[in-house]
Amino acid sequence: MMMRSLFALLVLLFTAGCRKDRPDAPEEAPLEVGTHGVYIVNEGNFQWGNASVSYFDPATGAVNEDLYQPANGEALGDVLQHMVIHDGRAYLVVNNSGKVVVVDPHSFTTTATITGFPSPRAMLPVNPSKAYVSDLSAGRLSVVDLAGNSITGHIPCGQWTEAMVLVGEEAFITDQSRPFLYVVNTGTDELVDSITVPRGGNSIVLDAEGLLWIACGGGSGTAPALLRIDPVARAVQTALTFPNDGNHPWRLTTNGDGTILYFLNEHVHRMAISETALPGMAFIPADGRNFYGLGVDPQDGTVYVADAIDYVQRGVVLRHASDGALLGSFHAGRIPGGFVFR
């Protein structure tokens, strides 16, 4: 009797388990990429191959969590650091996968893949046929021929080159590890100057008055700061330094006409370009959220802020009106880090 019940117990243990392990299929309707919409650049996890690009249509509120995989039947790779639309093509800079993937911005099907980058970070088209790609480890920029989709040369520059902006004939390039902002002549592809700034230069924008703003995370004895730089004189005009190194300004961006700066420093902050002091209060407090990406719609000033949560689930994007009021939220892909508006 006892033996029989013991065997029954064993059988029970075999069949135990009431939890369903099969995940529900995602409820996703294919979405047309419209004329006015927001691409969300989802980094994906390092070495998991799961970077993605989400799409949000502000007119209908519809979201597509990933455009790439359904269009190409293949994962994009990882870590998607940057996306830029140029001349009717979208360029996806996939850092750890060492490639720039060229896709049609509507269908998102791949038209070319540019390889040969050690650790690409961002891409800056400098004229209709040429672009620069910054790099985390190469110590040089790659020069890409946009017609042939290939690397045609290199410009020795810095160590960990990051964000880039074009001012006339010159490209300004930040460096995350060295305390310089580099100036490259886009006609001759030569490094022509460097401007001393704090370390950790992570983002750079051009404002309404034709001046540059750079966000530096600081480090190695340099303080975190926002700097306003005159690109013609190649000189720092204003340096707004943060009080201690617990601060980390990044994801610097502007509204459509370049009169208001937005950046992340745990919370979302904003300030007019005419300000001479850093903002005191947060524009959008994080309230325990893990703010990781920031973008401002150039048409209507809507602020998009991405919460990466724990980095291992799909992120949430919060939409705020330009007066700060919460308009709504939606889910994006894994680690949403950037926004591209069209």
């Binding site: 006892m2 013991l6 064993l10 243990l13 135990a16 293949e74 990882d78 325990g288 724990d310 689930q313």
Partner: protein
């Protein structure tokens, strides 16, 4: 450890995996989930829903987990590093210290007393350019036991796989490994023994890129020296052990074939333990352990050092008629200038009827942060707290003979909570570890084996099922959807069916292993599909002279060429075959 589940890898299984690595053995013969990055690449364990750092790997009683990473690459541990392999389930930090949370793998050397000369020489070749040679020479008389084993293996690991209907070949996955393991024991007088073991190993391998990266030129070289030694005195009333260990592990990382990141960790351990039997059935133990570790890495500013001292005690009781037994152990550790929470284990077993036992145990467990958690620049945090929690299990194990049919089985339920679970999360510019999660793991493990003998043939069938639910219990941000969701890369369901036939000197096995959904997101929306692998093994032993054996074995892996991934974006091989030939010689066969 009375009351907790223990599995001993039997000698036949050990022989079949003798030319393999620990990751392969555990993946095929245990419920431990092996997170493999691919053939010849990093493989770590998830034991009862824990992280890689929650499995203790003990070699001759000492934890060989790398102090920098707190984990062990099980693909680098040859099964031949031990002659006795045991899988101890459940929380064992009161006995083995930090890290023995989900379970422990116990690797122990053997003795060769009175065997005279012995020899094992093996050759093995297989798919993807795999080749392995090994040689062991032993000597044993009444006083001495000596064994020296050397091995070498190389592989191209250039299997092909399919991505998006496009067949590709794995590149940059070549591996070469060599090592020497020496064991020496000597009996002194009638009650004493001294022992010494040395394990040198060198592995040079290329590290392939994930499926969606363009290429990889990365290379990793691991070189380690491990020494253990000790003296013991055993009498009717007491055992005294004094032992020590010295581990030196170097890792050279060449991210693109050129520049090199070096790291090196050294660990010295001293331990003394007295076990006293004051009366029949009672045993009391008391011991001290001192562990010193130091590491060098480009990730550390200085050369961090860690001193951990522990005091531990054990008590065991065995009923005179062996109707029941119990044990209790307690350990207090101090790391540098901080007290680690007191840990303890209690367990008991009761014999219900002949060959049937019920058992239960409970323990408090902990894991100290690794060197990288504490000292890595940037990101490391010296203020991290140890992970700690509680584990309990209960089970029944038994066997029955019914004529020519022999049935045996074991069923276990377990639960474990861990607080302050450390995870690394990316920040704006670098990753850093935090005491972030509270994790509740619980599950059911069952095994049933039927053996039926007919004439000279023994037919056997073993079915194992494992159900592990391991969930995060705490929201980290307002929109965190991971609460009450399964941890990533912990299969909720897995199982194994093993069919065998043994007839005299010939045996054949067919093993099917099912691995269920593994989630790749903490909200459990992304996942890898379940897969089933079928492997077959055939072996035949030929008598060569009165004292020699020649063992021929054939193995086929993934016979149905299942296309699967254990970890996201890491390709796995299709069908593969191996053939091995081993010659064994033993001058004397000591009476068992």
């Amino acid at each position: 450890m009375a009351g907790s589940k223990l599995e001993v890898v039997d000698s036949a299984t050990y022989a079949r995996y003798g030319a393999s690595d620990l990751a392969t053995l555990l993946a095929n013969e245990s419920p431990v989930f092996i997170k493999s990055y691919g053939l010849g690449s990093l493989a770590t364990s998830a034991f009862r829903g824990g992280a890689a750092q929650h499995t203790a790997i003990l070699w001759n009683g000492f934890n060989i987990q790398n102090p920098m990473l707190g984990q062990m690459d099980l693909s680098l541990v040859p099964v031949a590093s031990a002659t006795d392999v045991r899988i101890q389930y459940g929380g064992g930090t009161a006995l083995w210290g930090s890290g023995a949370v989900g379970g422990s793998i116990l690797l122990n050397g053997g003795t060769h007393y009175a065997e005279g000369l012995s020899l094992d020489a093996g050759l093995r070749v297989g798919s993807f350019g795999q080749a392995r040679e090994q040689l062991r020479i032993g000597f044993g008389d009444a006083r001495w036991s000596l064994s020296v084993a050397a091995f070498h293996q190389a592989a191209r690991n250039d299997f092909s796989y399919v991505v998006n209907d496009d067949s590709r070949r794995q590149r940059n996955a070549e591996l070469e490994q060599r090592g020497v393991i020496t064991e020496l024991r000597r009996r002194v007088g009638s009650h004493q023994q001294v022992h010494f073991a040395h394990w040198y190993q060198f592995t040079d391998r290329n590290v392939p890129a994930p499926m969606h990266a363009t290429q990889s030129e990365a290379r990793q070289v691991d070189e380690s020296q491990r020494i253990t030694g000790g003296w013991q005195r055993n009498t009717a009333r007491a055992d005294l052990h004094v032992r020590g260990a010295w581990f030196d592990e170097g890792l050279w990382w060449y991210p693109n074939g050129m520049e090199v990141d070096r790291s090196r960790a050294r660990t010295a351990i001293g331990e003394a333990e007295l076990r006293w039997r004051p009366a029949r059935g009672h045993a009391i133990g008391l011991g001290v352990n001192s562990t010193q570790a130091a590491a060098i890495s480009i990730g550390y500013v200085d050369r961090p050092q860690q001193v951990r001292n522990a005091l531990f005690g054990t008590y065991g009781y065995q009923h005179p008629e062996e109707r029941w037994s119990m044990s209790a152990s307690v350990r207090q550790e101090r790391m540098d200038a901080r007290w680690i929470p007191l840990t303890a284990t209690v367990g008991a077993e009761h014999v219900l009827r002949p060959r049937w036992r019920v058992k239960a145990s409970a323990s408090r467990v902990y894991r100290v942060p690794t060197f990288n958690d504490l000292y890595w620049v940037p990101g490391g945090d010296r203020q991290l707290r140890p992970e700690q929690g509680y584990a309990a299990e209960a089970g029944v194990v038994g066997e029955e003979h019914m004529g020519r049919l022999h049935l045996s089985g074991e069923g276990t339920v377990f639960t474990r909570t861990i607080d302050d679970w450390i995870i690394w999360t990316p920040g704006p510019t670098y990753w850093s570890p935090m005491n972030l999660m509270r994790v509740w793991s619980r599950g059911v493990e069952a095994r049933i084996t039927a053996k039926w003998s007919s004439g000279r043939a023994i037919y056997s069938a073993t079915l194992r099922t494992n159900h592990v639910v391991s969930t995060n219990q705490e929201a980290r941000t307002p929109d965190d959807a991971s609460v009450d969701k399964q941890l990533i890369y912990v299969p909720m369901y897995s199982g194994q069916l093993r069919l065998g036939v043994e007839c005299g000197r010939t045996s054949a096995f067919l093993v099917g292993t099912y691995t269920g959904y593994r989630y790749t997101s903490t909200d459990n929306r992304s996942y890898l599909a379940p897969f089933t692998l079928w492997n077959a093994q055939f072996s035949h032993v030929l008598k060569v002279g009165p004292r020699g054996d020649l063992l021929l074995d054939l193995r086929g892996d993934n016979l149905l060429a299942e296309d699967y991934q254990v970890l996201a974006d890491r390709p796995m091989p299709g069908r593969a075959f191996h053939v091995g030939l081993t010659y064994r010689f033993k001058q004397h066969r000591p009476a068992p």
